[in-house]
Symmetry: C2
Subunit: 196 residues, 2 copies
């Protein structure tokens, strides 16, 4: 199992030594998901995090039977319904592969063991939690403070890969608008930038 990519990614978060990397690698399991397959369904308990090596996934929930996208996970991201993972409780969310995916999964017990053994793993956990807080709060605030057009522009700035990789109708659901409105916003923005 080639874990080089995982090592490169976690070293972007904190300055792990070879030993600190090595203590975690045995906890990793490879998992493959076919396009449209689910990593998680509503009601399932959440005990693992999936590092995305290849592919992408969406996190969504059901509202009156309608699927609403809450986030997307791409290469280098950690796919998880994070609060359910922290609370070790059944999920309100679904996570589904939008392409064929290659994942490296690890469970809560492994992470706790790493936290106990190393200060840098504690730091990793802190920075992941802070980053999850920032993502959740930015999303909440974007609905509080921004118009749909400005939510689109913020997504373009914060998550340029979403626009390159995620189908338009999934992005529309993430932005809380209809696909037609998103097409109109994109057209307006590209017409405006063409003028200057």
């Amino acid at each position: 199992m080639d874990l080089n990519n995982f090592k490169i990614q976690i070293r972007k978060i904190t300055d792990f030594s070879e030993n600190e990397c090595a203590l975690f690698l045995p906890y990793l399991n490879r998992r493959l998901l076919k396009k449209h397959e689910h990593l998680l369904k509503e009601g399932q308990s959440v005990n693992s995090i999936a590092f995305v090596e290849k592919g992408n996934l969406r996190l969504y929930y059901l509202s009156d039977g309608k699927e609403i996208n809450n986030h997307f996970f791409l290469e280098g991201d950690y796919a998880v319904s994070y609060l359910d993972f922290l609370k070790q409780r059944p999920s309100r969310y679904f996570i589904q592969a939008l392409e064929d995916c290659e994942l490296l999964t690890f469970d809560s017990q492994s992470l706790q063991a790493a936290y106990d053994q190393s200060k840098n793993w504690e730091r990793f956990g802190r920075i992941i939690a802070e980053s999850a807080y920032a993502t959740a709060t930015n999303r909440f605030e974007s609905f509080l403070f921004l118009s749909a057009r400005d939510r689109y522009l913020q997504m373009q700035k914060d998550y340029p890969r979403f626009i390159q990789r995620i189908p338009l109708f999934h992005l529309a659901s993430y932005l809380g608008i209809e696909p037609e409105s998103l097409s109109r916003i994109r057209k307006e923005i590209s017409t405006k930038s063409a003028k200057y």
Copy 2:
């Protein structure tokens, strides 16, 4: 300056030794706020966290000129506009004392120094971040998935002190309803419980 209460509270989060406590105590500053005084105003940069020794405060934002409460901080809580603190950026929020307050403040540099010096302080930072994530996500989800009545019941369960200490019209703003609707919900619930 009596820091015993602060030590008791941080030891509820992780198992600090006397030395680990001692390394942080010099960073603390005492601050008093009169009722209605602001700890933070929109546009101010956020460089400190205030541990609440006595009193309580509200975190709110302006929406079309109307004040909307987002959270309350009581004794033992850490009052901060947390994302603005993490990003060291100007705040979109206000924090105002609802009673006379006694606070212990510490700044971002002090916390980073403690993280660098001690694994337990890293753990403290991780658990605070995870807890902030849980609070923010629970609030977001309560608006997604729950009726106003169920949001009230969740608040009663998760934050019983809010109900004992915070004026009804401030709670109504936090729940996203009018004070009259909150009075009606409370009356319905107390009538129902009196029946059994």
